[in-house]
Symmetry: C2
Subunit: 123 residues, 2 copies
């Protein structure tokens, strides 16, 4: 459904992007599994496990913030990188206050994820 610019295949355990890093590409899983995790004091806390057809990386893109989690391949996994010209054009159509609305959504999701991770670490 999404315009894909390129495909890339990762082996089991390989990292697509690291929590805290500054990229903002958006990905769709073409075939395989992606684990999203946070690092909490050296402990890897899994936030979500995504399958073929699911999307990841959209939070950093929409809100222009560092990666909120590490994305890692579980088994051999091929991901499609969404066409960047298309995504940028769409985002640039929006005025500042609508983009703020979208950033609010992302920050709310980030905060909810923080809560879930905290609950997992300190039961």
């Amino acid at each position: 459904m999404f315009q894909i610019a390129a495909y890339e295949t990762f082996q089991d355990g390989q990292v697509i992007f690291e929590e805290g890093s500054s990229g903002d590409w958006v990905y769709e899983i073409d075939a395989g599994t992606i684990e999203l995790s946070r690092n909490v004091g050296g402990q890897r806390v899994v936030v979500e496990v995504l399958q073929t057809g699911e999307v990841f990386g959209e939070m950093a893109f929409v809100a222009k913030i560092p990666r909120t989690a590490t994305a890692r391949a579980v088994g051999e996994t091929t991901v499609g990188i969404m066409d960047r010209d298309y995504l940028d054009k769409e985002l640039n159509k929006l005025t500042g206050s609508f983009r703020t609305l979208l950033k609010i959504l992302v920050m709310r999701l980030k905060k909810a994820t923080d809560n879930i991770v905290d609950a997992k670490v300190s039961p």
Copy 2:
């Protein structure tokens, strides 16, 4: 910062919108406090408490889904209803697949909230 079409004042405990209902207006708190809650088997589970300047109602608007929580005034609270023509025009600028990306964000936030509510109900 947002274009506000009208202001409305609610008394303590009054409901602005009900979980599961079909409205999709977006609100900014002009003065006061809003509690967002879910109803779980008759028990009111507070999801978030928002203050002056914060925004609510954006999930239903962006994803065109029923309200995911009940919004209730805590003390006398005035809310601004965001200008609907403006919001619709912005959303309509976007092509289908970008809107899908935004819907994915909202559904992820909904799922995260589900998890938090579940954890609060069954400790």
